[in-house]
């Protein structure tokens, strides 16, 4: 009897939420947003470039730099010999230049200085390019000054080409490409989502408890079903809403990304980019892009997605169960939402502490703080999620999950007692002392 009643409650809690317009709306829109987050950056990379063919005037006082200023589709460097920088500056608005670059004559130690003027802020890429080009020109000019024979061959030989790949060795001694950035991003996003969802669905439980109390339907329901079953039915009903929503999100996002990817031909992005720089042989650029990409894509491929998603689900569910039972107890203790602020503090504090710990952990996954944060049940859902992509020993995972489960059971027991008394109490807002007394009724 008890079992089937709890399932009746779960079914209602699930149905009323899934039928809501807001649920349908967020469930459909969020994957579009996810997909947009994944697709748009590639699109921007494909079509970025801003205005094409902006002219930059170069007044080369040194006489050695201009040959090194390489133009492309975006910026065209034009040498100006008949005007000084000051003249150009004074007449800037009538001239069709995006910027003016003034290069001083070489000083006694054969160095030059560079000034640039522009109406609009120059982006960092152009600035870097100019300073790189000037440095290259000066260096080469200085080297030539030493009169070393066969300099060009030597230079070509010396030109370094260092590619850096970082690997971590796993216990079996196999190397795996480790792109710390990816792990950091996964850890950060994963923990933040867990924090957000625990908060969102936990307070959903709380509001729902308050609603039953204020409409006074709770007294009718409690005459049919045990309070603990009502509470657990509600918690599990909302959990099933969350899981269904996650499932739809994951499936939809994958579909949209796949479809959008093939429609927009993102694979060709590299080629498109390469074709845009005519000075450099296409093969070379493509190769470079692939070189750069290989380690990254390899690392992306090496991420254990199934494991991470499984952990996400486990830690969300357990963390949610723990926190929502506390949220339910608070909801039962008050008469209206305005009164929750004080009582909700001990729930939100550990959640926020967990979030702050995560900000440390996603960069230092193996520190002592990260270890303890991922064992303490109130912070472990967030902190463990930040560690998980780096790989966590099985015993630590087992310990963390075990502690979390036990804490949930204990918390559900205590919350059940508070809930049982609280839902039938009206009037004065209870203090901590009062709630402590309820545990003994």
């Amino acid at each position: 009897m008890g079992k089937s009643k709890i399932s009746i409650i779960i079914a209602r809690e699930f149905a009323i939420r899934v039928k809501k317009k807001s649920f349908i709306f967020t469930t459909i829109l969020t994957p579009l947003l996810f997909a947009a987050l994944m697709v748009v950056p590639s699109l921007i990379a494909m079509y970025s470039g801003g205005e094409e063919g902006q002219k930059i005037a170069v007044v080369d006082g040194s006489g050695i730099v201009m040959p090194y200023m390489e133009s492309d589709d975006e910026y065209i460097f034009t040498e100006v010999t008949d005007k000084s920088v000051d003249e150009l500056k004074g007449n800037f608005d009538n001239l069709d230049y995006f910027a003016i670059v003034g290069i001083s004559p070489m000083d006694s130690s054969k160095n030059v200085s560079v000034v640039t003027y522009s109406r609009k802020q120059m982006n960092i890429d152009v600035q870097n390019r100019i300073s790189r080009n000037v440095e290259a020109a000066v260096e080469e000019h200085k080297l030539k000054g030493y009169g070393i024979p066969q300099l060009e061959e030597i230079m070509a030989d010396v030109e370094s080409d260092v590619k850096m790949s970082t690997y971590t060795l796993d216990e079996k001694g196999e190397e795996k490409a480790s792109k710390v950035e990816i792990f950091m991003i996964i850890g950060y996003i994963g923990s933040f989502l867990i924090y957000m969802f625990i908060f969102m669905f936990g307070s959903m439980v709380m509001r729902s408890v308050i609603e039953e109390k204020t409409t006074r339907i709770i007294e009718v329901i409690v005459s049919s079903v045990k309070p603990f079953q009502i509470m657990m039915g509600k918690i599990l009903g909302v959990a099933s809403v969350a899981l269904v929503q996650f499932f739809i999100w994951i499936v939809f996002t994958l579909i949209i990304v796949t479809v959008a990817g093939s429609l927009l031909g993102l694979d060709q992005a590299a080629q498109t980019m390469a074709a845009a720089s005519p000075e450099v042989p296409v093969e070379q650029i493509t190769a470079a892009v692939q070189d750069e990409g290989d380690g990254f894509i390899q690392a992306l491929k090496d991420v254990n997605y199934a494991g991470i998603v499984a952990c996400f689900i486990i830690y969300f569910v357990l963390g949610y169960l723990l926190y929502s039972s506390m949220f339910a107890a608070v909801g039962a203790a008050v008469d209206n939402e305005a009164d929750t602020q004080q009582l909700v503090l001990p729930i939100t504090m550990p959640l926020i502490i967990g979030l702050f710990m995560m900000l440390h952990t996603f960069q230092y996954p193996d520190s002592a703080l990260s270890f303890w944060g991922s064992v303490i049940p109130f912070t472990s859902p967030m902190v463990m999620m930040a560690r998980i992509a780096y790989g966590v020993p099985a015993w630590e995972l087992a310990l963390s999950i075990g502690v979390l489960v036990l804490t949930f059971v204990a918390m559900a027991y205590l919350s059940g007692k508070i809930y049982r008394v609280g839902i039938l109490m009206y009037g004065k807002k209870p203090g901590w002392k009062e709630i402590y007394k309820w545990l003994k009724y």
């Binding site: 009897m1 007294e219 005459s223 049919s224």
Partner: protein, 302 residues
């Protein structure tokens, strides 16, 4: 053996005693009035019968056996503070509540449709509760309380919120349910409906049971054996042949009204036999004290 038998039920909340060793027998198929001032412990007793609260000590029998969790399916409870989910549709909601009382969805739908016809509210099925007036919502609440055909119905202030027409409708339904064999516990402060509906009552005050028994029996017990005669005539009534004392004899709405003390053992036949001799009798009735007066007397003396 009644449907509910309490013996020595005690319930404390911290230092506060809500019920102090209450023993009661609620007979089957009757309407039982549970009376008492606010805060006396009625709601606690009702919650104990509903197994919402467990007593600290004492025994509660349902149909002669210790009450079990599954017995809630044979009890219908209309709390004083009641409500429904505002955003849920009426039909859906009633079926949900019936399922929680152990009915199947199919059975509940069939039963509910019959009730909707009976109350001629067929159009409400798909309305949300928030669209209903308070009285309309009360009707739905009543239906959800009784639709699983409980053996025991606990109604806490069932008439509050209803207009006189609907009070009558609910009153008729309560009597029909009694006719069909349902035992009803009626908790109310409306003493008129106690006099009219209840067969037995129990009065609880300050956590203790003060009085329990048949309504007529209690009214007689707390009355002073007066009868009231209304007659047409000008002379004060003369009753030489019957062992009565005249308490009062005045003009009353164009007639005369005499109150007689019959403690001496006079029968109605004796009194009427005497009266008929010189008077035109309009009415004759046993003058029982109002439940209201008994209530006030017992509660203030306690």
């Amino acid at each position: 053996m009644g449907i509910i038998t309490c013996s020595g039920i005690t319930k404390k909340f911290g230092n506060f005693t809500a019920l102090n060793s209450v023993s009661l027998d609620i007979p089957k198929g009757k309407i039982f009035g549970l009376l008492g001032p606010n805060g006396a412990g009625k709601t606690t007793l009702i919650r104990i019968i509903n197994q919402i609260t467990l007593p600290d000590s004492g025994e509660l029998l349902f149909n002669g056996a210790p009450i079990r969790p599954s017995d809630v399916e044979n009890i219908g409870y209309l709390p004083e503070e009641r409500g429904l989910y505002k955003k849920m549709k009426v039909g859906e909601q009633a079926i949900y509540l019936a399922k929680l009382k152990g009915m199947s969805g199919k059975q509940a739908t069939k039963e509910l449709k019959e009730w909707f016809v009976k109350f001629s509210i067929q159009g409400w099925w798909d309305k949300k509760v928030e669209e209903l007036s308070k009285g309309m919502a009360q009707k739905i609440q009543f239906i959800t309380t009784v639709m699983h055909k409980p053996q025991l119905l606990i109604l806490d202030e069932p008439f509050s919120g209803f207009d006189p027409v609907n009070v009558n409708l609910i009153r008729k339904e309560i009597l029909a349910l009694k006719e069909a064999g349902t035992t009803i516990i009626l908790s109310t402060h409306n003493m008129e409906s106690v006099e009219e509906l209840c067969d037995n009552i129990a009065l609880i005050n300050k956590s203790n049971l003060i009085v329990a028994g048949g309504v007529d029996e209690i009214r007689r017990k707390y009355g002073n054996n007066h009868v009231e005669v209304i007659y047409r005539g000008t002379d004060p009534v003369a009753l030489a042949g019957a062992p009565v004392t005249v308490v009062s004899d005045d003009i009353y709405k164009g007639n005369r009204r005499a109150v007689l003390d019959v403690s001496g053992g006079a029968t109605s036949a004796q009194i009427l036999g005497e009266l008929i001799k010189g008077n035109d009798i309009v009415s004759y009735q046993e003058l029982m004290p109002r439940m209201n007066d008994i209530f006030i007397k017992l509660v203030t003396n306690n």
